[in-house]
Symmetry: C2
Subunit: 396 residues, 2 copies
């Protein structure tokens, strides 16, 4: 009930109720690294305190509309402004000649892009492809409604059909962190660039991306997955209009509260990059991810029992330094003595996602590097135990 004072008094305590990730784990707890729940930046946001706090009164955001003058009529002007600002501060994507379409997470916008980009009057569904290993959600997202407009056609590397197609280019790639370009070179192809992880905490910013359709999400940029805010940068006006129409028909817009809070958070991050002395969010994120990757590579050893991808040193335009990628997921491969790596890790109370889900094989798993500090420490401990008990490769 109470007034705003009560709200404020409670607001800066992140209890488990407010944040599902803060419950303390017992030493024999199963740790879930199957999903990429981005809770790793929690301590940063706890330290930020009220600088990021936003309040809503009962009389705000009653209308469906946010800006009737905008093509994307439900996009809050503050969010549009802060999206443009953070991209120009980071330099990872061109915004000036692009329209912004907001969605309930970038997943919503993948669906919107498929709808907007497939030819409207094709006799048969347009093929949707992505190079393996591809994000495990793409096939189901494409096929679950058995749409007559598009259908999943699998690995872009083996796709050789003539006619129109849609290729999803995920860069850095989920699950393996590789930097990617389009593979199919058909003349009737259209591209969707999923750039969810193209931020300095995960990879060097090597260029200002300038593709036709680019997808981003607050979940992986700021770590606020609970807000469900994603945005698309779209060059072509009609494509942006069709994506906006998709969001209208499926959900009649996107939560104003989530949009305004995301605008606030993006603003705080941009400020943190621009004002010397303030705690640069991306520097914090880079240090955190670098520390985790260092620990992981150390415990796994370079190719002894399991192997990890190697990433080249690249010059980052944002930091002005050479560095390696430190992806949000570890794409781990086991050696010949293990058939099913996911099953093996489950035996050690580590849940990771089976490589076969990504169009790869069961000798691979994807393990989230975006978990809480506590989960990550348990993950490292258990990998150490596995190594300790694995002399002579007797795994079972």
């Amino acid at each position: 009930m109470g007034g705003i004072e009560e709200q404020v008094a409670g607001v800066n305590k992140c209890t488990p109720k407010e944040n599902g990730t803060m419950t303390s784990l017992s030493s024999d707890a199963v740790i879930n690294l199957d999903i990429g729940d981005p809770t790793l930046f929690q301590s940063y946001w706890s330290k930020i305190g009220d600088k990021c706090t936003i309040a809503f009164s009962g009389c705000q955001s009653l209308s469906y509309f946010a800006n009737t003058k905008n093509l994307c009529w439900f996009l809050e002007p503050e969010l549009e402004e802060q999206i443009k600002r953070i991209h120009s501060v980071v330099g990872n994507a061109a915004v000036e000649d692009h329209h912004i379409v907001v969605g309930t997470g970038s997943t919503h916008l993948i669906h919107a892009a498929l709808f907007a980009l497939c030819p409207p009057d094709c006799p048969e569904p347009t093929s949707v492809v992505c190079a393996a290993p591809y994000y495990s959600c793409y096939p189901e997202a494409t096929d679950f409604l058995r749409s007559g407009l598009y259908k999943w056609a699998g690995d872009a590397q083996t796709f050789d059909k003539d006619g129109p197609y849609l290729e999803i280019v995920t860069s850095p790639n989920n699950p393996d962190g590789s930097i990617r370009e389009a593979i199919v070179k058909g003349i009737q192809g259209k591209l969707i660039h999923d750039l969810a992880y193209y931020w300095p905490q995960y990879t060097p910013i090597t260029c200002c991306a300038h593709y036709d359709v680019m997808l981003f999400t607050a979940s992986k940029c700021t770590g606020h997955a609970g807000s469900r805010i994603g945005w698309a940068l779209v060059k072509d006006k009609d494509v942006a209009r069709k994506m906006t129409k998709f969001i209208e028909v499926t959900t009649i817009g996107v939560s104003k509260e989530a949009q305004l809070r995301t605008a606030k958070i993006l603003g705080v991050i941009s400020d943190s990059c621009l004002h010397p002395g303030s705690n640069n969010f991306f520097e914090y994120g880079r240090r955190l991810m670098a520390g985790r990757w260092e620990k992981l590579r150390e415990v796994m050893g370079r190719g002894e029992l399991f192997s990890l991808p190697e990433y080249p040193q690249e010059y980052c335009l944002f930091t002005g330094e050479y560095s390696e990628s430190q992806p949000g997921f570890a794409w781990m491969k086991c050696d010949e003595n293990i058939e099913d790596f996911e099953k093996f890790l489950r035996g050690h109370k580590i849940l990771a996602r089976n490589g076969s889900r990504f169009g790869s094989d069961p000798k691979h798993v994807r393990a989230s590097m975006l978990c809480t500090e506590e989960e990550f420490e348990l993950f490292i401990e258990r990998l150490l135990t596995i190594r300790g008990t694995s002399n002579g490769n007797h795994y079972f």
Copy 2:
């Protein structure tokens, strides 16, 4: 960027920026009653002040998860509690033996229900029907992805196909406010009850609804369309699970900010009903709607130029009084001298939705009764002008 004080200082001023509906209208402005933007309760929420204010800190709602123990794992426990509470306070729907699934507005949940209820392995798409006049968005929502699972089959009153089908029962009905029951009596039919307007401000609560799938939305209950929060009450566990799966595949959950704010607002409304002396939200809403309907019936006259549906007096279990329905939309019919009522009203700077969009005819329009006070007054003024200039039925 300031701290919480700045937030609070600003939070209770509803500027046009914060609420698209507060810009002042010029006397010759076109008034848009085509969409049902529920901005009519604005003065109630402005008067509520800080009682409804909710604040979010930077470290809240990072995770995708809200309650891992719940079938609907992204549903905030507070929202679940307040949804159950308001239904038991109002007595309009049974909650105890139903699962709650939250969506980004009830539109999202219509899609989820179609997906969850159609037989999974049918050779051809399941027919989706609704009695005309039906909500104009149903046909497009059903067909826009050309799903192989379901397809729009039009007016339930003329539907005579054998085999499985889905019937949407909207009660009170959008556009005409009538109270409805299922019409098709096939043995393989499944029902979706869209009860968005089954609240005391719109219609007498004549029974506690106890259907298999019941859809509600904050937009029409509290007037907060900008939050995009809808909920489904679902009896069957597998159907609730499939609807939850749909929300997962399309948007990976629903904004936590919007859920927590809606929980707060629903709580304030329930309190307003339970504590004598406090400003009962539904009483306020009933007075407001009754006043608008009285003015509208007065200016239109009973059947002179245009006609409106008549509604029976019913006993309302919530108020303990007999009253008529006072729907969120006016379903207006013109007399024989007008061919296209929408076009006619547009000539008088009133935008309403053409009856043909609802499976009816151009002699009908749907005009929103949920607009701001200012818009409603202009609407009434212009209807008066039309009557004034219509002696001898010279309309043009």
